[in-house]
């Protein structure tokens, strides 16, 4: 089997378009505190170019594209950090697409693909639950084919800012189930939970006999949850790569302009060498994301390994880059007004979501040692 390792002209163009519509990264902090309308505009711009349909089937209005088509755009999202639920909507669309729940697909996919609706995933990997207080959501069938959800989740990524939720729950027999719900329903309670990262709002969700549509149960649900977790980890790795690159640019710009002791501080060897080392790591991140995107559609095992490598490396690198962005800027790097701390907090959050770096490396070691 052979893979294509260079981006196509169309992929390059899409990435460039997304980069432009996300706006200048230097204005990202202003955008974070901007009103809802500003965020809506970015979301609508993505919808207009059909972004949410790229990974979706034509049958529901999508374009049957590949992960390689969108990977570059995810990197750009990480660079510009708009506080919009792109990642979780893509995960929901992808999961629904690969399920066998035709009714649920017919109802929920088209508006998500158009960007008319947005989604978050209330699944373990996307929740910042305390170990002693995990999500606990029970799914019970009603007589008429629909289901009812009862319980509460931990803080779930973007859960409070979307209109649809893909929920991981337990059936009466203890086996897993995946369901979709409309957040407008009164039976749902959404409580915003403050977390370290201000660019990605989290909310805990309570379900009180909330009506839900079944997407999958039992073995199928397990499979889909595994896939979802994997893709979630990969998309986070792509975002982390963009975030790291942005932090690198922050450092590079600053050390070029800031003068001390009669010269730009970027002339001092210690900083030059640290930036060279960081360059090596970010190039490695880029390579791992490209590799994962290239093998995704053809080789599930290769994609599993690629995700384990990408998630662990790219998030570690993002953390390192964010640390440098603060350190190299000195005192002002430590201010709220400065962009750097947002990236630090995003990196920490990315580290926790969908499996930490050590957990991924342990999984990779198990694969390597089993051959």
């Amino acid at each position: 089997m052979s893979i294509s390792v260079l981006p196509s002209p169309e992929q390059i163009e899409l990435r460039g378009t997304v980069r432009r519509l996300l706006g200048d990264p230097r204005e990202a902090v202003d955008r974070l505190t901007a009103n809802h309308q500003a965020h809506r505009r970015v979301w609508d711009a993505l919808s207009e170019i059909g972004f949410f349909g790229i990974l979706a089937p034509q049958e529901y209005g999508g374009f049957d594209g590949s992960l390689a088509d969108v990977a570059g755009s995810l990197v750009e999202l990480g660079r510009a950090m708009p506080p919009i639920p792109v990642l979780t909507s893509l995960l929901t669309i992808h999961t629904l697409t690969h399920s066998s729940a035709d009714d649920a697909k017919a109802r929920w996919l088209p508006p998500l693909i158009q960007g008319d609706r947005s989604a978050a995933v209330v699944v373990d990997g996307a929740c910042l639950s305390a170990a002693e207080d995990p999500s606990s959501i029970a799914a019970t069938p009603r007589g008429d084919g629909s289901w009812s959800l009862q319980g509460r989740s931990g803080p779930a990524l973007f859960a409070g800012t979307v209109d649809s939720l893909l929920v991981q729950a337990r059936r009466p027999d203890g086996t897993p189930a995946l369901l979709v719900v409309d957040t407008a329903d009164d039976a749902l309670g959404l409580s915003p939970i403050p977390t370290l990262d201000g660019s990605r709002p989290f909310a805990a969700v309570t379900f009180d006999a909330a009506p839900a549509a079944l997407v999958a149960s039992g073995e199928e649900a397990e499979r889909l949850l595994l896939r979802l977790g994997q893709l979630g980890a990969f998309l986070l790795a792509a975002e982390a790569t963009g975030g790291a690159d942005r932090c690198f640019d922050i450092c590079r710009e600053f050390v070029t302009v800031r003068e001390q002791f009669g010269r730009p501080i970027g002339a001092f060897q210690a900083l030059r060498h640290r930036l060279s080392d960081l360059f090596v790591e970010i190039e490695a991140s880029t390579s791992l994301v490209s590799y994962g995107a290239a093998v995704h559609s053809d080789d599930a095992d290769a994609f599993t390994a690629a995700t384990l490598m990408a998630k662990s490396h790219c998030v570690d690198t993002f953390t390192r880059a964010a640390d440098e962005a603060i350190q190299m800027q000195g005192g002002i790097g430590f201010t709220w007004e400065n962009e750097a701390h947002h990236h630090l907090k995003r990196a920490k959050t990315a580290d926790v979501l969908f499996g930490s770096a050590p957990a991924h490396r342990e999984h990779l070691a198990a694969l390597l040692l089993s051959e």
């Binding site: 390792v5 490695a284 490209s290 040692l369």
Partner: protein
Amino acid sequence: MSVDLGPELEQFRQQTRSLLEDLVPEGLAEVCDWYLGVTILGGSNRQARADGYSHPLYAEWEARLLEHRLVYPQWPEQVGGRGWDSVRTAIFAEEMYRLRVPRIQRGFGADLVGSALLLHGTPEQQKRFLAPIIRGEHQYCQGFSEPNHGSDLAAVETKGVIDGDELVVTGQKVWTSEFEDANMMFALCATEPDQQRHRRLTFVILPFDADNGIDIRPIRQITGAYDFAEDFLVSTRAPLSNVIGGFGNGWKVAMSTLDTERTGQVLWSYLAFEHELRRLIGAAHANGSAADALIRQKLAWAHTRTQVMRFQAHESIARLAAGQPLAEHTFASKLLWSEYQKFLGDLALHIAGGGGLVRPPVAAGAEDDYLLDEWQDLYLAGRAATIFAGTSEIQRTIIADRVLHLPR
């Protein structure tokens, strides 16, 4: 999993594969592990391979490859190669590895002097110098570093003075690897002392033996081996026609050879790193250290590193095949692999544990009283990787200057 390079190169790959399958003598791959210990300059695990090189199957293989112009196929046809571009050369290397058979290499110096000649030599010089390398008659060592000039190569002091139709070279070189087998040296000497830094030097090819005023003093390395030397050049002579690229142009010639490394071995060296790691994983299994959580973390990190090298090599090959310029990460490849190698040497001894520090026994009366096993050798020899061919510090400075354009 291979990279899609289009139908023409796929056909080339299939043809190469068939040809090699026909040519490989049966049993060659089993003579020794040809790919373990080749990642470090000079190599670790050399004894095992030395035995392999003197095996009759290796001689048979060498003869067949010579006959088919497959010893340095990237060199021009008129010198005994096939004029292959770097992509075809990389495919050839991949196919050789697939069969686990060795490429015929005439020392590390061959690649460097080859690049110099191909970029700056005349066709006559190419024929005169490259053909004997392919035939195995000439083996080169590098005369660049001096005791007072290592990283700052532009300031070398070895002098070259014209005397009739010869250049007379006097000075001292150091760290000449593979000096034992070398009968030729390519050297940088100062022939234009009044010129500016980068115009003082000339690149010249010198016959390397005692008859030509060369006094070699081997230096022992931390591995116990005497794998490099200092060389005193006392009126060492070469015809003026051995000057490559013209007088005063030596710096440019030397620098361009370093640049070609980005399209050379780095395109396939990831195969050797993957091979080495698989061996190390086997060792971890064998002694039970594979159950240790920290060792598992490090093995996973190492594997990730080899896959970065793999992908970056494939990406470079794809770019070259598509006529696109190389990506910036190619400036970082030496830094990446050499630092990785040091890490791996550390990990190898971590895995080996206390018993891993016990050296192999030496036969009574043996010349070499400091034998090492493959992992001990890697651990020690790896310390050189971040020093030779441009120290890690120089690599970081090159990246800062040429890629990041940071203030100076």
